[in-house]
Symmetry: C2
């Protein structure tokens, strides 16, 4: 027996329909690449999205199922492209301009992008790349005629001229809610990037889950600035959930330095913002340099992408009276997997008891299921101590990559392995303890490289620390601690081990400590454990030979 309720498919255009009907006068404020701050409303955005959909459809032949790329900052035109193209049933492929040329070339060709929308910032980058992109029929430059550059790009199209040719009463086609609407490639550390293909349904459900009172609780009275870029894991859903909530939207464009971010936070009275720790580090530096500045309007800062350092969280909360909401997710999860709000059970914890929980990555919103498992897939206890493979399932989690890359990615129960290692405590709060490939497997037990590194950098003479597993004849692997000393500081192996003694359990203590001039980093500034492992390939730990 089936229900007798209306067929109301979960389609992206319903989000902008809602925003323009019930919050039509609400502003979208964008810092543009051309210079000025641009202001208009959801009602304007909705009309221009329709005009764009009509124009790309009739002038460029783009329709349902066509993949079209964007290389753009957070701004109103980028938003119009998302809603216009997704409303049409096309698939928006967000290109991360920070990728290396060979990665960009690979993903554009893999996705067979038909057109690329790009901002003025990226003309030169794209000119250098275009000859390797045979599927791309033309480049739509996101500006008006007055700002159109001299360019060698083939078939350059002026965005404002294109949109002017469209009908802003264009009627959205009826689509299947399973229709693809977006594709985003993961920049995997091994192998080629793999494409995650979102559906209209998954994005709408994800935005609804994020809007929930117990998740981000976005209200139409909020002013939200997504600093996290739309090309980075869908701006953590904010391009969907903010219009869904009818909140005012502030888009920072290309300028993410402390002064520019502060200016928008202050002038636009932003109440909620979201971004990676690097951005907030720049903002906090700016605030420290200008002690007269305050964060008068900012109520909450959503911090994710990598773990929020304790000092940063403390600065926001204690110095600027801004609540930090720690979050975690990944491209394969649309992306949000957990949010660190207080829950009913943790509401009565005092500040001291709550603090270590707030430093964790949080708990899943409704529509996300999360477990930790051992190497055999057995579910491990949620005791806050045991750590295991973090596996997830839900309404907005990938079931396979585009064109089947990477093969089967779900286990028999339908869970996706995140590649992270984590604990989950009795309150349901999850904490990432390591990447699965970085965890040290010693005598069948696991040692978290991140926990050891965090403990080691607590020593006053240590500037940076990295821990990798070294093959050991008896224990399979044992930890090696690699350290960079602070300029002018001195410390010995014995002193470091002595310092760690009461900070980690005994069997976690590194078997050796090595001092180096520099620890290798990836392009995004993370420690490159891969390079480090190559540097220390064949390293023999003290006592390891004797054990053989």
């Amino acid at each position: 027996m089936l229900g007798l309720m209306q067929d109301w498919p979960l389609l992206i255009h319903t989000i902008m329909d809602h925003a323009s009907r019930y919050h039509g006068t609400q502003e979208i404020v964008s810092r543009t690449v051309e210079g000025p701050v641009h202001r208009y409303t959801y009602a304007d955005c909705a009309k221009r999205a329709r005009a764009l959909a009509d124009a790309v459809n009739t002038k460029l032949g783009i329709g349902a199922g066509d993949i079209v790329a964007t290389m753009a900052w957070n701004g109103y035109r980028h938003l119009e492209i998302w809603y216009g193209l997704m409303g049409l049933g096309a698939v928006v492929h967000t290109l991360n301009p920070r990728l290396f040329a060979d990665q960009l070339d690979y993903i554009v060709n893999h996705a067979e992008d038909k057109y690329i929308f790009l901002e003025l910032s990226f003309i030169a980058q794209m000119e250098a790349l275009q000859d390797k992109l045979p599927t791309v029929k033309g480049f739509i430059i996101m500006t008006d005629r007055a700002h159109m550059p001299e360019t060698s790009l083939r078939n350059p199209i002026c965005y404002e001229e294109l949109i002017a040719a469209g009908d802003n009463t264009f009627a959205w086609p009826k689509l299947d809610e399973q229709q693809a609407c977006g594709i985003c490639y993961t920049s995997g550390t091994t192998g080629n990037p793999k494409g995650v293909v979102y559906s209209q349904r998954s994005h709408v459900l994800h935005a609804m889950a994020i809007c929930a009172g117990d998740a981000l609780a976005l209200k139409s009275t909020d002013v939200v600035m997504p600093v996290v870029p739309m090309f980075h894991a869908n701006a953590w859903s904010l391009a969907f959930s903010v219009p869904m909530a009818g909140a005012k939207m502030v888009m920072p464009g290309a300028k993410m330095d402390g002064a520019s971010i502060y200016e928008l936070l202050d002038q636009e009275k932003v109440t909620v913002t979201a971004g990676v720790p690097t951005v907030w580090l720049m903002l906090l530096h700016h605030l420290e340099k200008h002690p007269e500045l305050k964060l008068d309007h900012l109520e909450r800062a959503l911090i994710g992408g990598s773990a929020c350092p304790e000092a940063m969280m403390a600065a926001f909360e204690k110095k600027y009276d801004t609540k930090v909401v720690h979050a975690w997710g990944m491209t394969e999860m649309s992306p949000i997997g957990s949010i660190g709000n207080r829950s009913g059970a943790t509401a009565d914890l005092d500040a001291e008891a709550w603090w270590p929980l707030q430093l964790k990555q949080g708990r899943p919103p409704f529509t996300v299921e999360m477990e930790i498992t051992d190497d055999q897939g057995q579910v491990l206890p949620n005791d806050g101590k045991t750590f295991g493979h973090l596996v997830v399932r839900g309404a907005a989690t990938a079931r396979e990559y585009y064109k089947g890359e990477g093969g089967k990615i779900l286990d028999d129960k339908g869970y996706f392995d995140t590649g992270d290692v984590a604990t989950i405590d009795a309150y349901g709060f999850m904490q990432i303890t390591d990447r699965a490939k970085d965890v040290i497997k010693s005598g069948g037990e696991w040692i978290s490289s991140i926990d050891l590194e965090n403990a080691a950098v607590g020593h006053p003479a240590v500037a940076e620390a990295a821990v990798i597993g070294i093959t050991h004849p008896k224990w399979d692997e044992r930890p090696l601690l690699v350290l960079v000393k602070k300029p002018g500081a001195e410390v010995s192996k014995e002193e470091v081990l002595g310092f760690l003694k009461d900070k980690v359990v005994k069997w976690w203590l590194p078997d050796d400590v090595v001092f180096v001039e520099e620890i290798p980093h990836t392009a995004t500034g993370k420690i490159s454990k891969l390079t480090l492992r190559q540097q220390f390939a064949g390293y023999v730990l003290p006592g390891a030979e004797a054990a053989e």
Copy 2:
């Protein structure tokens, strides 16, 4: 091109799964019919729901698609029945015990209910009815062995014995999200009651829409008491949205008098509650009698079912510092259609400018679309003055009634006519001005009977007022004002018309005023316009004959 996201159907059991995994220690507090207040947790509820599902499946043969009725108050056992049976794929039919016997008999037979779960309060009522209910195989009495009554009910089953026989690790079957999970009959004023059949999907989407920050913004740190019964339009989704949010739940059982409601609000530290104006009237009377009492914890009272009187709203807001959230909905909408929170555009209105907006029924949450139309189905402007048929569309709105009763109920654009007449203002706030059948159609224009009544009761000598349309040879219909005077008060027709003169536009002024001893009411206390129209059938308005 379809998305490649996981298949995660929207099923009712995922709500209780989420509550028990992430808010397992959160309490459900219920006032029982047996007497004591019962307390347990979401983890307990989830287990017992599984045990019940297993028991009804194996012992009673209830499975997917079977319709099973409940006649019960808001309490933990009723919640277990909903989650247990819906999780199994069965369809829960909530019976309103206040219905007349012949209506109950009609709907049980129309739905062909297989079993009826009932609370001790309703034994006698059901004994009198059972012989007319041939499809019902047995009656499950919601109590334990010690409280089992002597009863003539055929096949009486003890609830606690039944649940004790079930396996509390029972695995939920995989269901289609379009599977029916609930049926609720509308008590239409004309014709037989008609069944609205909810799907698993529609209830989950509706609960997600209600949980949104811009809708009810339920948080796991809230304590929510649904006073509105689960048999009345699904307790306004709270049986789903409160566990989805992980909030503590307080269930008032059978006692809805002011003292009992106050006791739970106070002792359980309720932050959010919901109910019809009658209940709040009783609470406010109780508070007035005991001036030492305060609503210390209550932040918000959701008021719906019928319009919240201005004096009630003022008492809550100004005297008890409790925010009133006005809401509107109907059984066909699962039920919530609009919620009266401030929006971004109305955030800066001062208290005086906001007040008349707060008295309106509010604006739709995401997933609800709303329009007003004229008799020809043309969309009317949202100017706050023009009123028209209120039509709605959405993810949790009915497309047809059970067994096709009432025929086609959607227009060509897929909208359902609510039978209400309303205005929508430029902010998107909707206000019910009349029932469509009560509106007076005068010369092609509409006159709101409710607006006229509200104006008339403003006169100090008037106790109650009702307006009906009387056939008129020239204008089709003209308003007749029927009045009950206050005891000992005197007022003439001319005085009343003079009083109304500057309160309504001239052509709205009633053609006649009639004084009566009593105005007829329905069983639920509303003015019975139907009876009134019968009483005044053939009434000739002054000047009407002359016009012929």
